[in-house]
């Protein structure tokens, strides 16, 4: 088990800021939850605290970015992409101010704290806003590469991750590019397309299924927007069944984005969107909530078997 993606974010942004005094982080009383206390102590002139005021956080970040600052606006994803959605839409995206909007403790990372603290809407909301890209890195490698790439990204960017330690996922190569999906493993019986921290359970599910003689692909679709359509279509043409996995509402996220691409290309195959259903979210830790909704090794394997109609094998 490696570190939390949150820790990797904090380490990487500190490294970048030490090399470039124009790198700033802006926090809304969130330096502790953003693991940025060390950043604040090391580079006090490069951290801007705005207090508990997420709208102001994003507006100020836009103003700073307008002067050429490389700004990471850091706040829990639940507040950042809801309370300050209009600032993201207008001050950042519409105004083309290249802020890096960082949603920490995303999805159901704050599991037991309830829906006020969940961000299960952020992909859907931001996918519908022009001129902002959306990335959910899966593991420490993807997180580090995403943050490094964010500095030179030519558009506003939203990046979200959780706070739980993440396993290092299989890596066929060391390339990373925002907008280019990563093939973690290849096989044509079952294809999982996962984003963010659901890639780990997808990999675990593939290992369960491989023991049953099924060859699996796992794609880390870290960039939800713009979607890597070429990769999606390529794997879908070879797959027997395809399952998307996300720490997000089943409405408006990765799954529906993939479905639209497939249908437009005339590709139909057994397909399932695994995410959080449109219901009062169950109480529990992130892992418990994942398991409850089938975002687990066994849950995803079961979904695959159902799609393959080989449930009787087990």
């Amino acid at each position: 088990m490696s570190k939390a993606n949150l820790d990797i974010f904090a380490e990487t942004v500190l490294e970048l800021a030490q090399q470039d005094r124009d790198v700033l982080v802006v926090t809304s009383d969130s330096r502790g939850s953003g693991k940025l206390t060390s950043f604040g102590e090391t580079l006090p002139a490069q951290i801007v605290e705005v207090g508990i005021a997420e709208q102001n956080l994003v507006g100020i970040a836009a103003g700073l970015a307008s002067t050429g600052k490389k700004v990471f606006a850091v706040s829990p994803a639940c507040f950042l992409t809801a309370r300050s959605l209009e600032q993201i839409k207008n001050d950042v995206a519409y105004s083309d101010q290249r802020v890096k909007v960082i949603g920490i403790s995303a999805g159901v990372s704050y599991g037991a704290l309830g829906s006020t603290h969940h961000s299960l809407h952020d992909f859907a909301a931001l996918r519908a806003i022009n001129n902002i890209d959306v990335v959910a890195p899966a593991d420490n490698f993807e997180t580090r590469e995403t943050i490094k790439a964010a500095i030179r990204h030519p558009r506003p960017l939203y990046i979200r991750f959780g706070k739980k330690a993440m396993p290092d996922l299989p890596r066929l190569n060391d390339t990373f590019e925002i907008g280019k999906a990563r093939v973690l493993k290849s096989g044509t019986d079952v294809t999982f397309i996962a984003t963010g921290e659901t890639a780990a359970p997808a990999v675990m599910a593939s290992e369960v299924l491989e023991k049953e003689g099924l060859a699996c692909s796992v794609i880390s679709m870290h960039t939800v927007k713009p979607l890597d359509k070429d990769c999606l279509l390529d794997v879908a043409r070879q797959a027997q069944v395809l399952i998307t996995v996300e720490e997000h509402s089943v409405y408006g996220g990765l799954g529906e984005a993939c479905a639209a691409v497939l249908l437009r290309a005339g590709i139909t195959l057994p397909f399932e969107i695994v995410g959080i259903p449109d219901e009062y979210t169950v109480t529990g830790s992130q892992g418990e909530i994942f398991a409850h909704y089938g975002i687990s090794a066994e849950g995803l394997a079961q979904t695959a078997r159902k799609l393959l109609r080989v449930g009787s094998r087990v």
């Binding site: 507006g59 100020i60 836009a62 103003g63 700073l64 307008s66 002067t67 209009e86 207008n90 105004s95």
Partner: protein
């Protein structure tokens, strides 16, 4: 530009505002006429910005939080040479960049606005960057009085005071009317000056339609070292045309051909008077 020249400009700008709103068939007449003197003084006398220096990192910046009064801003920017006045023939027309709120597609505009309560935070960010980099520029932002009920304005105000942004000049266009009616009847704002003072601003008040008073105040910035500056500019909505002044319906009413002719006649008279007897 001298103060008598500024007064003449204000009248000419009012004529242009009415013409372009009439031509576009869309616009915010009352608010543009209330704030145009402020923009006139900023762009012709106070701010260190021009088409030639717009890319200069040391330029002064202006963010129009009350984005709906964009016709006043377009009028002044065109006059200052940021783009040809004729471009405004396309205002609000199909595929025009000159839309009904400011966007960075238009030369001279720093930030897209239109949703109220946004401009001050962005201006705070700009001013903060100036402090961090020890740059000499100042940041000016114009707020409508009606938008002061947006809570984000007060979030931004707390930050401006906390970071001692005396390079930030917030101007409130206090014309007293919003789309529903008088601000004090919609949701009372007073005491506005005391509220901003309590939030940490150095507050000054003036007649926001008097170029001389505005120039005098801008010359005193920073009002107090280490405090953001707040100018409570008392204005008259629709100023310059008798039948538009202080009339709620003219918030976004577009003048008819006849109304335009009558308005221009009044303003022509005011212009001639200024030319005959320079102040």
């Amino acid at each position: 530009m001298t103060e008598s020249e500024l007064r003449l400009k204000s009248v000419q700008y009012r004529k242009t505002i009415l013409k372009i709103i009439h031509h576009a068939g869309s616009g915010h007449t009352g608010g543009s006429l209330s704030c145009v003197d402020i923009l006139n003084v900023l762009y012709n006398r106070v701010m260190n910005v021009s088409p030639e220096t717009f890319g200069d990192p040391n330029r002064d910046r202006y963010v129009q939080s009350k984005g709906h009064s964009v016709e006043a801003l377009y009028t002044v920017l065109a006059d200052r040479g940021f783009f040809p006045l004729e471009d405004l023939d396309t205002l609000c027309h199909y595929q025009s960049h000159y839309i009904g709120h400011p966007t960075r597609h238009v030369n001279g505009i720093e930030q897209n606005t239109g949703a109220l309560g946004h401009g001050l935070s962005v201006a705070v960010g700009m001013a903060l960057a100036g402090k961090l980099d020890e740059r000499p520029y100042r940041v000016y932002t114009l707020l409508g009085d009606g938008e002061l009920t947006e809570g984000s304005s007060w979030e931004a105000s707390m930050t401006a005071a906390h970071y001692k942004l005396d390079n930030l000049i917030v101007i409130v266009d206090r014309n007293g009317l919003q789309i529903t009616g008088p601000t004090e009847k919609v949701v009372a704002l007073e005491p506005v000056a005391d509220k901003f003072a309590a939030f940490g601003y150095a507050v000054r008040e003036c007649n926001g339609n008097d170029p001389c008073e505005l120039v005098n105040l801008f010359d005193q910035v920073p009002f107090e070292v280490g405090k953001p500056n707040l100018i409570l500019a008392h204005t008259t909505k629709g100023l310059g045309v008798s039948f538009i002044e202080n009339t709620v319906k003219w918030h976004h009413k577009v003048p008819t051909q006849d109304e335009l002719a009558r308005a221009l006649e009044e303003l022509d008279g005011a212009e001639e008077a200024l030319k005959v007897v320079p102040l």
